[in-house]
């Protein structure tokens, strides 16, 4: 394995993933606001959902390709961050839902809040893990 070549692959893979993630988020936004603002046709909405699903699958594949180019140390950092994020998301997701159902908070547990929580937790745990092994 040549690491110079691998660095290029990781750089390319990261750009690729960023591109597909942006495309997926854009499509998600269009599908979310489209039926209320842009069109009034179920077929267009369904087409948008299918396109969003396809872009989502491509995004997953590019993430896997990027992961395959990481070395054992980078994989360890990524996996630890993912495990931490998954654990916290389940704990806080359930806690949030219980607090809402018991009337302690008014804010409804919606999926976008979970996605924001997952994103922030993942970024923070990546930073913490990278510092831990420095």
């Amino acid at each position: 394995m040549n690491t110079t070549n691998n660095k290029e692959l990781i750089k390319k893979g990261t750009k690729n993933l960023a591109l597909w993630t942006s495309a997926w988020l854009t499509m998600l936004l269009i599908v979310t606001i489209g039926p209320d603002v842009l069109w009034d046709n179920d077929l267009i909405t369904l087409s948008g959902i299918v396109i969003n699903l396809i872009i989502g699958i491509v995004m997953l594949i590019s993430n896997k390709n990027l992961f395959d180019n990481y070395d054992e140390f980078q994989r360890k950092i990524q996996l630890e961050s993912m495990a931490f994020t998954l654990g916290l998301s389940v704990i806080f997701g359930v806690l949030f839902e219980k607090m809402h159902s018991s009337g302690l908070i008014d804010l409804k547990p919606k999926i976008h809040l979970l996605i924001i929580f997952i994103s922030i937790t993942y970024i923070i745990s990546l930073i913490i893990n990278m510092r831990r092994y420095k």
């Binding site: 394995m1 040549n2 690491t3 691998n6 660095k7 054992e72 140390f73 980078q74 092994y133 420095k134």
Partner: protein
């Protein structure tokens, strides 16, 4: 796990970047191994031992 990677790397006048290129892992991984915060996989340990013309037991010191 304790190891002699830094010692042997310096004896061969290699930078972490150069060693990383020769072994096929990132510089960050070499740094973490040298600081004994990360234990490499068996293939990486073999590559290192071969590069430094030593054995894995000499390079990595196992202790409970």
């Amino acid at each position: 796990m304790r190891n002699k990677v830094k010692e042997l790397r310096k004896s061969q006048n290699l930078t972490q970047e150069q060693l990383a290129d020769l072994i096929g892992i990132s510089r960050q991984a070499i740094n973490a191994i040298e600081k004994e915060k990360f234990d490499p996989s068996l293939p990486t340990a073999f590559k290192m031992a071969k590069l430094f013309k030593t054995t894995i037991e000499e390079l990595f010191i196992f202790s409970n």
